[in-house]
Symmetry: C2
Subunit: 423 residues, 2 copies
């Protein structure tokens, strides 16, 4: 019975239809579909169906640090976050990730690409939440030879352990950033991942300072050096990619690298706002959307981030027609799914049934001249009534099973964390 | 009984207290307050109290055009809106304004400063909604002598009619913009308003094009010319003020003019993003927040607009400490109230009881390191549970009386509008 579901009378691109989900996949889309006995039926009258979101760059466990340092210069922010992270332990990561998953489910995200610590605990949290995720073992050695060796061992051990994870949770490899990982380990990590068919994840050109320091040290841009090291490619997801030259854009495009726009984090930390969406798209990069961690961007609400991305893009390009709605929604759904190797992010027969139902009963959806504009520009994410992952209902009527326990435990863990860092 | 209410156990700046409201005004803030029999009591346990928002620039009736033209160049957008507005009639303005009021109440706004057509019908809608508003008769003559004369007569007649409005709804005068109103009528309108103690409202320096055309024609900036005509002052609210020279900032500051930041509209229509918040504040201008009409910014959600304003400010100033939370909240509350002559926008004994209660039960408020950051940066406006205007509850538990009828009528009126313009 798992992953079998009939959605009755949902609106798809404005037309009422039924969607029959079998074994987690959209089996048929039509009208007045018949299904066997015992199939769960969800009456979606008045609801619009959309593919659920894919958040392509976040640090889920960091959600326990939401709001810990506000209106601060970047240096003070980093000091506060790094101090907080010294206190991380298994339970903090588990409950921080459960809290993150709860928030993502409530705001319409079905899958995410994560970069954080203690990923075995994060994996358990994702398993328990019912979502999908790629959790990446993160290399960050600062050039320390002991750490270099240790992290290779840890990565191998964690990968071995990951073989027991379900198909919803995948192991990947992160190179934290070109300026925090030794060249040796960057190459080792890439080879480790590629020889096993795993995906890579890194931060790239997030700040102007980072780019300038790199240029001064190596005489080339970070993207150029990654290209020279053979790291770019369809199996690499590069987050931020905010300070790119024309050559950088071409390199990312030619290699088919996935880039992630983390607009709220970029604006809030004052990293920049001129994300080169048009150029990256035209060059052939796979352009996706992320929220970054709640430590910097305060929430994991991808729909809200899409709105901000479009507003920023229209403004800095001085073109109100920039980043139109269909491309924007693709950034938040099918492009991310493609990067993670998921056949989802679309409402089509044969695709994974990773869907949301949008309740249009609120004033934000009146009048109904343009549903997608109402969804992105007018509404807030409380309009997302139902989230379905592979045919399993993870939220319905805005209710997620176990929400109260997750919130209570996250609050308790936060208290314990505060006692720990203030001890 | 009207305007008398006891709020029990609400959180004010993190401390639990009771708030006793008498005749629409906050009479006492304390603990375990006693009140007479028959006073309505609202148990606010788990809720945080904040002043309700004041939206200082909108076109409420335009809400029926939400989403009518998306991802279009500015010229096409204006053509579509102007075509739509030729169809306006009394019922469209009434139900459009009711819809706008419903949305504002649901997102925590208690009062707004409006510029639109058929303000007698808008006034009735505001009366019926229970909110406060200043509705401005709008001069827009394009230099046409017949319109000049007609608008003066209409303004006088509408002002006479406004004497029957309740104290919640005030009459004001708009000069649409320096480039759409003849000098004669600008001066006449200002004199009409000032000789009667009414407030003025205008668009100012919204686009670069507007500024350049003005400079070419008059040899000075729009602000300089308004100053020379004697129009600036504490009784003027200037919306947008996006393209300001240092001298413009000084003129607005010295005169104590109220300026309104309409960030979502500015970004979406690609008007610009470098709103000079710090400079205007330091010069002595009264800096407030607005949403503009839903035709351009798609919603009237002031809390969301505050978030975007802070993000944009931090980004373009390259300073993550720019526009800190307390100043941001003041822009959205007390500064706007001051401009409208309302003793509100603060939770203090003696102030008007224009309040919201924020429900912190959702994941967006966990952990609770910083309530204001969670409210602005993490949550969406569905966290606003209760809105109180002068001690009267306009929303509780997210429910507004008459919501279903308003939505149904707004949908019907939209159908009628579409038939009208497509006839």
């Amino acid at each position: 019975m798992k992953g079998n579901l009939l959605l009755r009378n949902v609106l798809l691109e404005g037309c009422s239809c039924d969607i029959y989900i079998k074994d987690g996949t959209i089996s048929r889309i039509g009208s007045a579909l018949q299904c066997g006995d015992g199939i769960q039926v969800l009456d979606g009258r008045g609801m619009s169906v959309l593919p659920a979101f894919v958040n392509m760059h976040t640090h889920a466990g960091m959600t326990l640090f939401r709001g810990i340092c506000e209106d601060m210069p970047l240096k003070a922010w980093l000091d506060a976050v790094w101090k907080a992270e010294t206190a991380l332990d298994d339970d903090l990561v588990y409950w921080g990730t459960r809290l993150a998953c709860l928030e993502m489910i409530r705001t319409g995200t079905v899958a995410f690409n994560d970069m954080y610590w203690r990923i075995d605990r994060a994996a358990q949290a994702v398993e328990d939440s019912g979502m999908r995720a790629q959790l990446t073992y993160c290399f960050l050695d600062g050039g320390d030879p002991d750490k270099q060796r240790l992290q290779k061992e840890e990565c191998e051990a964690m990968y071995a352990e990951s073989r027991s994870w379900s198909s919803r949770v995948r192991f990947g490899v992160s190179i934290h950033a070109h300026y925090t990982v030794s060249d040796d380990n960057m190459l080792w990590a890439a080879d480790f991942a590629r020889s096993r068919g795993l995906l890579l994840h890194t931060h790239l050109s997030e700040t102007r300072t980072e780019n300038e320091a790199h240029q001064a040290r190596y005489g080339v841009s970070p993207t150029r050096r990654l290209a020279d090291m053979g790291l770019l490619g369809r199996d690499l997801t590069a987050a931020h990619t905010l300070w790119l030259s024309d050559e950088d854009v071409r390199l990312l495009g030619d290699s088919g690298t996935t880039v992630v726009h983390n607009v709220n984090s970029n604006l809030k930390l004052a990293s920049g706002w001129r994300f080169r969406y048009n150029e990256l798209r035209d060059a052939g990069a796979n352009v996706t959307m992320g929220t970054d961690g709640a430590g910097s961007s305060n929430n994991l609400d991808l729909r809200e981030a899409l709105k901000t991305a479009a507003l920023a893009q229209k403004a800095w390009r001085e073109d109100p027609a920039a980043l139109p709605l269909d491309e924007l929604l693709a950034m938040g759904t099918v492009n991310g799914a493609r990067a993670l190797g998921l056949n989802s992010g679309k409402v089509e027969e044969g695709a994974l049934a990773d869907l949301i139902l949008v309740d249009t009963a609120s004033p934000f959806f009146v009048p109904a001249h343009n549903f997608k504009a109402n969804f992105i520009y007018s509404a807030n994410s409380s309009c997302i009534d139902t989230l379905i992952c592979g045919g399993r209902i993870l939220m319905q009527g805005g209710r997620v099973e176990g929400q109260e326990e997750i919130l209570a435990r996250a609050r308790e863990e936060t208290e314990r964390f505060l006692r720990k860092i203030n001890a």
